[in-house]
């Protein structure tokens, strides 16, 4: 168990760096508390796996430091850092039984057979693997194998941090939620610092108390699931979290007033500055309502997904997506919509204006 601190981390895979694009990670600073559940969320190529490998010690950062419990571990390897990692594809030792797989990290650390047996039994029970302990590990299904990889991390009591690198990629969708609940439950039971890397918002938001959203090598927002949904600090967060994502619409700011397609819009955040090269309105499809007056729109397409209707509309300022209940009657042709002020934000150069 340990708290993890990242101080001004930057990493580049190149020898020389000329511009921002040459950096895989740019100036990352994070404080992760002991025993917390954290997630790194972002699309592929955002740098989250690089960051994970730096924390686990598989990669040395170009700049900056990694601290475990205020002790600098930047130059230590994964074994010296005492971390565990679960990979995207289940890593199991094919020729060993499930029991031997779970016992392997303990055997390598020279524990006595008695200790090993009791530890393995405890973890196997937690992961519901008890009945398969004697089987060959290679005969298990993908989720069974992934449980073994997980078990090998959990079985050690000296682990500082357990890291997950998109661990549910190969799991059948019907089983994903079972493992998701299992992971959450495990975190509450064993109370270790866990860091979960994924591109899947559900996995990140469900698992973690605090989610770090990454975009192009930078952290764009750190926050609770509610914060990320209700008040995205960067247009990318708005787009990435929620499905469908936030509507990001071009607007103009004049004298502190927001103008969108000829309409005045009132927003939640006050506009103190306006010297941006680009200003935008962010409004989630959930927070737009049809009404008699407001912004005139034309309905282009309605798709019914069984429990929602997703409505594509067009107006002078751009295309707006609206989400409503499946039972709601949707007006056809031309109509008007209004934005819920509480969830309407203005962004300057992609960052929220505050």
């Amino acid at each position: 168990m340990a708290k993890v601190t990242l101080k001004n981390l930057s990493h580049s895979y190149l020898e020389k760096q000329n511009n921002n694009a040459d950096w895989a990670l740019r100036d990352i600073s994070i404080d992760w508390k002991d025993s917390g559940a954290y997630a790194l969320l972002g699309p592929s190529g955002c740098g989250k796996t690089t960051l994970l490998n730096i924390v686990s010690g598989l990669l040395k950062p170009t700049k900056g430091n990694v601290l475990f419990d205020d002790k600098d571990v930047t130059t230590l390897n994964p074994v010296e850092r005492d971390i565990a990692q679960i990979f995207q594809f289940p890593v199991i030792y094919d020729t060993m039984s499930v029991y031997d797989n779970l016992a392997f990290p303990l055997k390598n650390r020279g524990l006595s057979d008695g200790e090993i047996a009791s530890k393995v039994k405890e973890i196997a029970e937690m992961l519901e693997l008890t009945s398969t302990l004697k089987n060959r590990a290679s005969g298990l299904t993908a989720d069974g194998k992934q449980k073994i990889s997980l078990g090998r991390g959990l079985v050690r009591s000296d682990v500082n941090v357990i890291m997950f690198d998109e661990p549910l990629t190969v799991i059948d969708p019907h089983l994903k939620w079972v493992l998701r609940s299992k992971l959450k439950e495990l975190h509450q039971k064993i109370n270790r610092t866990m860091i979960y890397v994924t591109h899947d918002q559900t996995e990140a938001l469900t698992f973690a108390d605090q989610v770090v959203v990454m975009h192009e090598g930078q952290i764009v927002q750190t926050g609770t699931p509610v914060e990320l949904f209700e008040k995205p600090k960067h247009t990318f967060v708005g787009h990435f979290i929620g499905s469908p994502g936030m509507n990001i619409l071009p607007c103009e700011i004049k004298n502190g007033e927001v103008n969108f397609g000829g309409q005045k819009i009132s927003s939640h955040n006050a506009i103190k500055k306006s010297n941006f090269s680009k200003t935008q309105i962010g409004i989630r499809p959930e927070f737009i309502n049809f009404s008699k007056e407001g912004i005139p729109v034309k309905i282009k397409r309605v798709s019914n997904t069984g429990r929602h209707k997703i409505i594509d509309t067009e107006c002078t300022g751009g295309n707006i997506k609206i989400l409503s209940n499946a039972s709601t009657e949707i007006p056809s042709g031309s109509t008007h919509v209004t934005f819920n002020k509480k969830f309407t934000y203005i962004y300057g150069d992609n960052w929220i204006i505050e």
Partner: protein
């Protein structure tokens, strides 16, 4: 899915069919013919039934040749497989070293077999060959044309030199297909270098290794050209492996009946071993 239909390809296959018919099917039938009959030339045949088979199976000469053959194959497998894996493990995984190593490794495989025999013959000659001369100069009484032990030593050394590369290349391909996550996980689990080899690399190489053993078994069991050029089966009959003995019998003594019977027995031994291997491989496949 985007292919257009074109049946012309069949035309190109015809030569192969013809060639196979002449090369394999017809000679094989001739051999079968000879193995059951006695002939004195001029196409005069007398039915002998299974006499030649009995004679061969009971002959000490065949037993001796078979024994030498098994010993040879066993020894070279015992050397080449571990050596091949060892070299593959030490080869670089990226950078300029990769192509260099791969080319170096492929070289022996590209040399024609009779040339290999001739090269080693000259190389090992005790008076003028580099190897033979050096060995004698440092005090070994080495002469592969006179002493059976030296002849075996040289033949095995030649085969190891010629064929270990094949095992190396196959093992290297097997090693390269292991995902880096396996090594990282093992590192995190605190596995020793030996444990990584034993529990990750070896199991992941199992398929290619089975293939390597099978290939090396077949090739070495049917080896002819290289020892023929190097030792001619001598001194005496000490390096006369099955194929060399067979040729001696057929072309040296014109015992066509027994030679044909021996050919078939030889053929069935190879077939049997391959079949056993194949089944083992399939069984493993089904289990995992």
């Amino acid at each position: 899915m985007n292919k257009t239909i074109n049946q012309k390809a069949w035309l190109f296959v015809i030569p192969v069919f013809v060639l196979v018919a002449f090369n394999a099917a017809i000679p094989l039938m001739t051999v079968v013919n000879y193995s059951f009959q006695e002939t004195f030339g001029n196409n005069v045949f007398a039915w002998e039934g299974t006499r030649w088979f009995k004679q061969i199976l009971l002959s000490e000469r065949f037993h001796a040749a078979l024994g030498r053959q098994i010993a040879f194959t066993f020894i070279i497998l015992l050397i080449q497989i571990p050596l091949g894996i060892g070299i593959a493990l030490t080869m670089p995984k990226k950078g300029w070293g990769v192509p260099v190593c791969l080319i170096l490794m492929s070289m022996p495989l590209l040399i024609p077999w009779n040339v290999v025999g001739a090269m080693w013959n000259i190389f090992a000659l005790p008076d003028i060959g580099f190897l033979g001369y050096t060995l004698n100069a440092i005090g070994f009484d080495y002469n592969f044309t006179q002493q059976p032990g030296d002849a075996w030593f040289t033949t095995i050394l030649m085969d190891v030199w010629h064929w270990t590369s094949l095992v190396v290349l196959l093992s290297y391909a097997g090693l390269n297909s292991i995902q880096p996550a396996y090594y990282q996980a093992a590192e995190i689990d605190g596995a020793s270098r030996w444990a990584i080899f034993r529990y990750i690399e070896l199991p992941k190489m199992k398929k290619v290794l089975t293939l390597a053993i099978l290939l090396r078994f077949m090739d070495s069991f049917m080896i002819y050209t290289e020892p023929f050029v190097l030792t001619g089966g001598g001194p005496g009959n000490t390096t006369a492996f099955l194929s060399i003995d067979l040729v001696k019998m057929a072309l040296g003594q014109f015992d066509l009946g027994p030679a044909a019977a021996m050919s078939l027995i030889y053929f069935f031994i190879v077939l049997l071993v391959c079949w056993v291997f194949y089944n083992l491989m399939m069984k493993n496949e089904a289990r995992s």
